[in-house]
């Protein structure tokens, strides 16, 4: 996804610790997210979810399946 794009999460395709961490931050299906930007080296990525900004590595973000608006 690109900067300033919006999307709705359709699924989180990972279980285990990463899945848990993503979910507790609010990344559950049906929630709207927006890509805020990326770090100077393009990784990690900062996304806006439920009124807060969180950062994840690209390979972690890959597990978030999104339907782009």
């Amino acid at each position: 996804m690109h900067k300033n794009q919006h999307g709705i999460i359709t699924a989180i395709s990972v279980a285990g610790e990463l899945g848990r961490r993503l979910r507790e931050m609010g990344l559950v299906p049906g929630t709207r997210i927006k890509v805020c930007g990326r770090a100077p080296l393009r990784d990690p990525v900062a996304i806006r979810i439920l009124d807060s900004t969180i950062t994840l590595r690209n390979n972690e973000a890959d597990h978030i399946l999104v339907e782009i608006e």
């Binding site: 990463l18 899945g19 848990r20 049906g30 100077p40 439920l50 009124d51 969180i54």
Partner: protein, 735 residues
Amino acid sequence: MQLKMALAGNPNAGKTTLFNQLTGARQHVGNYPGITVDHKEGHLQYQGQTITITDLPGTYSMTAYSAEELVARDYLVYNRPQVVINIVDASNLERNLYLTCQLLELGAPLVVALNMIDVAEARGIEINAAVLAQHLQVPVVPIIARSGFGKDALLSAALQVASTNQQWNPLSISYGDDLDTTLSELIKIITAADLMTETYHARYTAIKYLENDDQIQAKGREISPQTAHLLEQLVEKTADHSRLTLDVYPEAIIADHRYGYIKSLLRQGVITRKFDADRLYTSDKIDKVLTNRLLGPVLMLAILFALYQFTFSWSEIPGTWLKNAFTWLSGLVETTLPNGTLKSLIISGIINGVGGVIGFVPLIMFMFFGIAILEDSGYLARVAFMMDRIFRIFGLHGSSVMPFIVSGGIAGGCAVPGVMATRTLRSPKERMATLLTVPFMNCGAKLPVLALLIGTFFGENKARYMFFFTMLAWIVAMLAAKLLRSTVLRGAPTPFVMELPPYRFPTIRGLCIHTWERTYQYVKKAGTVILGISILLWAMMTFPGLSEEVSTSFAMKRQEVMAAAAPDTRAELQIKKEPLSEQAQALNKAITLIGNEEAEMALRHSIAGKIGISLESVSRLAGFDWRTDIALIGGFAAKEVIVSTLGTAYSMGKVDSKDAQSLSDRLKEDSNWNKVTAVAALVFIMFYSPCFITLVCIAKEASWKWAAFSMAFNTILAYLMAVAVFQIGTFFSLG
């Protein structure tokens, strides 16, 4: 009457601010036994009651997957506080309520403190506390922790809840038909077997089983293996089913439903938004600049450099003041006490050793203050965000940046709070790697040695070289981390899901408390280890002392010199007339030189000297002679004593760390020392074994095995590097 209260909430929700507001200085940070999570407790008097407040670790949820969450959960069920204040960030309500949900499911007697309503208002978010309270069925009190607004209302509500002394009643959320059915079955089994029902509600235990909670499942197996087996079987069946039909585990379904519950709750008139949800808030605008592709790193370096400057220049004055105080004290002892062992002990052993450390306290304090500002404002999270990609190459996390900076990554610091700061790293492997490599940073104790050697041999470009050695420390630390992560600490990287909190203005109180906590750790070191070591070293360098005949021969030499001088000159020295004439000065110098020679010989014959000489065969390869060896041995205990020991070893009498001018000259003249040896020595000192207190810290945070490993690994690495530098440098005649 005594009341137990607990504070729970997300990180960055203002929990610590509220805790500081309520308890002020009446707090104590300790340790949960066996676990490296801080135990923060404080006291408060309100309406005639004594309230003990425990600040639980900040968590986003209450699973069993991190030490903090377990600590929070266990505290709640085993200590049963009469009321739990759940701090919730009003500008971020939805996610914050996830934890609230879990607290309610646990059944804890709750009061929700709706914090940061000013921030929410600025963002056009209006929260109807009354409606929220109605839905959650617990009191909801709007507060602004920073200013203390709502504090009274909060405490009253809390006391009210505590006084009703209710049973712990869990909230029931529906998790969808499939899971709900399974839950009822699980609950039936649990109730029948009475499994852990004194601690947890049957429903809670059932949910935990469905979530695959390790801690609860392990406990279940311990108490009643048959029941546990039954439960686990049932859970597995459900898990398989949900995987097949919905392609998710029950855990995920449960999380989804919790958020679903929260969303539906909020939709019912709790939140009203004035502005478009996409609007850029001030924090976002600032971040556009601070984490910008180009400007971000540049500004970061600028800020770090500014911190470096600020620390050094502002701490100059108090530092000098302290140094002068110690010199005065030393002078006082010099003139009042009779010559002898006790006087030597007090001056060389105690005042010198401890004075050096205390002289650095202003510098360390200013550094910690600067770090506290970066931390509390939220900027440090951005640094972690920008640095993560680089740190990842070495097997570390962006969040490791903080412990490195605290340990002396910029200029001066202390590995003790640095090691403790690794507690915030959730991932064990990255944490160990960080823990073992932070001692490579240039802490406040290593700075005087750096200053001495660089100033002596590279005087023309002092600043540049200081910077170079700081960079070197980082490079070695990163490479060592990589090495560790590919060998002894091998393992997959752990998730880097981190929140970027909005920028906030730090509170002065918060800054002072943070700064003080860390500075205190450094100061405590002075009063304990360094004092002891200075005395021990002094003893090792004084005894067994020169034999009778040798001392007599020196005394005779002095007499000869005195006799050879004119009577008036001698008289001048005796009455200590000032200023002295030229001849008197010359005489004085001659006497002093003999005294120095005697001191050096005494040192050679002392225990320390003998040890140093015995190590010479090995240390020669790196260019160190016995005198340097003694200083380095002292450094094993505390690096602060290296300069003073070196001074004594080079028979300067007493050398004070901050003004090592004459030692500098002495080294420049010594044939053993040149640029190559200096660099070799610097390299060795920067990287060898952490000082004693740091080792103890490492042992506490990890284990004695790791502390021993740290000592050995670092020293061997440092030795190899020093030898390489010396041999190559000498080969190419770079000296």
